[in-house]
């Protein structure tokens, strides 16, 4: 990666955020920052990298924006200066608050559709191009371009504010920001379409944004909890698939492949936030993953502790999806029959492939192979991820009858 690429990845969001505050115009800010980087590509190889690359980019972008306003404005130079002056006034707390924090809250405003929040966050804070975001979410570039421009138009015309929300709104609004980051991470973790199981770049981008948010809001335990959760899941990436791209379940993973550096960082963050005594859903999910990380083998997993954490999680966010995952822990502690009773009692998950796949697994363990095959088939039909589908179809085939297909499939995955 060149100096310019590195600066771009690290500083694009900051530069855009500063320019938006100063000029109050997202498109102008983006264009000016892109022009500044284009200038850097021409100058830095010859002149050398400036002592403060970020400062250079911001100053150059600001000059470009002023030039553009002068050139395009029919209002003339005098009013252009007035625009800048107004920008200067709103900068009173410049040194207290990083502009990227305002920008995160604007991008993740609940008045925008969730898909738009994700796209805007990746575009403005992550510096991904419209084409990159479109490819990551498997939509045509023109569709993504329209989605972005409609969202930016709504921010401008509806007056979505460019600031950190008031204290009374902060818990809800921070929740919306965390949800966007986790959505980006999950899209990278188990891509809902496309050829591969994972799109590492999206998961990596979510972690980068998570680190940024933790740096900006170090006192928010759920922000740290989310970062810890993402790091602990990311740590298992090398063990999650075979060289051929097939899924390896947690129980079957080669734990020596887990990234111990990420685990240590995730567990460290988790200890920090749990000390605050305000456990939320991300902290609890991270704790569950930390328990898995502590077990040297699947057999050594402390399922009783995991079940206790799920009980806590179900108490604070009693959704059907949490209950479904809790049932997996119930199966380990109290057996598959108890778990199946819970799973069969859950409503509204018939279109959710995980519900069918958990059911299938429990039925298989209870020796009800016919029903298990049916449930694996249903799960395979509903997942959008090809690697998951291959796995589920494999399981269905394995228990179709007493055939010899099973050992071969098993050997392939270990």
């Amino acid at each position: 990666m060149s100096d310019i690429d590195r600066t771009f990845r690290a500083e694009y969001g900051r530069a855009v955020a500063v320019l938006i505050r100063q000029f109050g115009d997202i498109d102008l800010a983006e264009e000016a920052v892109q022009e500044a980087f284009a200038t850097a590509v021409l100058r830095w190889p010859g002149d050398g990298v400036p002592p403060s690359p970020a400062g250079w980019i911001i100053t150059t972008a600001r000059n470009r924006a002023v030039d553009r306003l002068r050139r395009e404005s029919t209002r003339g130079a005098k009013e252009t200066a007035a625009v800048l002056l107004a920008g200067g006034h709103s900068a009173e707390d410049e040194h207290i608050m990083d502009d990227r924090l305002r920008l995160i809250f604007t991008c993740c405003h609940p008045a925008l559709a969730p898909a738009s929040r994700v796209a805007l966050t990746l575009r403005l804070l992550g510096g991904l191009s419209t084409g990159e975001i479109a490819r990551a979410f498997l939509v045509p570039e023109t569709t993504m371009g329209q989605r972005l421009s409609r969202a930016k138009g709504k921010i401008r015309d509806a007056g979505i504010p460019y600031r950190v929300p008031r204290d009374e709104d902060l818990p809800d609004r921070l929740g919306a920001v965390l949800a966007v980051l986790y959505l980006i991470f999950n899209e990278g973790y188990a891509a809902s379409g496309g050829p591969g199981l994972t799109r590492d770049d999206l998961a990596g981008e979510a972690i980068r944004l998570g680190r940024l948010l933790v740096g900006l809001m170090p006192d928010e335990p759920e922000a740290k909890g989310l970062l810890a959760l993402m790091l602990l899941i990311e740590a298992r990436r090398p063990a999650r698939t075979t060289a051929g791209g097939d899924v390896v379940l947690l129980a079957d993973q080669d734990r020596t492949l887990w990234n111990r550096t990420l685990i240590a960082e995730g567990q460290g963050l988790l200890r920090e936030c749990l000390r605050r005594g305000r456990p939320g859903t991300y902290q609890l999910q991270a704790t569950i993953n930390a328990v898995h990380a502590d077990a040297d083998s699947a057999a050594e997993t402390d399922w009783a502790q995991i079940l206790r954490i799920y009980d806590h999680l179900a108490a604070i966010s009693g959704g059907a999806v949490v209950a479904l995952h809790r049932a997996v822990a119930v199966a380990e502690v109290h057996g598959p029959a108890a778990a199946l009773a819970i799973v069969d009692g859950l409503d509204g998950l018939e279109r959710h492939y995980v519900w069918h796949s958990v059911r299938a697994d429990l039925l298989r363990r209870l020796g009800r192979h016919g029903e298990a095959v049916e449930a694996y088939g249903k799960a395979a039909e509903l997942t959008g991820n090809p690697a998951e589908r291959r796995y589920l179809q494999g399981r269905a085939a394995e228990f179709q009858g007493p055939s010899a297909a099973a050992p071969l499939d098993r050997a392939d995955r270990s």
Binding site: D157, G159, I160, P161, R166, D169
Partner: protein, 113 residues
């Protein structure tokens, strides 16, 4: 300051009986007064039912009239309030107060150009 249109959408059919509607309208009146005191209130009005509406179109210089509302649906615009607010958060906060008074009716918050 920006201006926002807060539209109240309600299901077609008869309004609730007076003993239900009365307290709601009183609360709405209180909210209007609060908006006025805060300098947010610009204008508000309730509408007669859609069956009283007439649509006018121009056809070669002549007004062509149609009985009834422009769109037939299960819901219709029952009334509206125009407010001043510094940004969408402030407008949504008033909209949320109105939705609480008129629950379960939905309030559409839309910026005025």
């Amino acid at each position: 300051m920006r201006q926002y249109l807060l539209s109240v959408y309600q299901p077609d059919g008869d309004p609730p009986p007076p003993e239900v509607l009365g307290p709601i309208m009183a609360e709405l009146g209180n909210l209007n007064e609060e908006m006025q005191a805060a300098g947010a209130w610009v204008f508000a009005a309730g509408l007669h039912p859609p069956s009283t509406a007439t649509v006018v179109r121009d056809k070669d210089g002549d007004a062509v009239l149609t009985d009834g509302p422009f769109t037939e649906g299960k819901e219709h615009l029952g009334g509206f309030t125009i407010i001043r607010a510094s940004d969408l958060d402030e407008a949504l906060s008033w909209g949320g107060r109105m939705a609480a008074v008129l629950a379960p009716l939905a309030i559409e918050v839309r910026p005025i150009a």
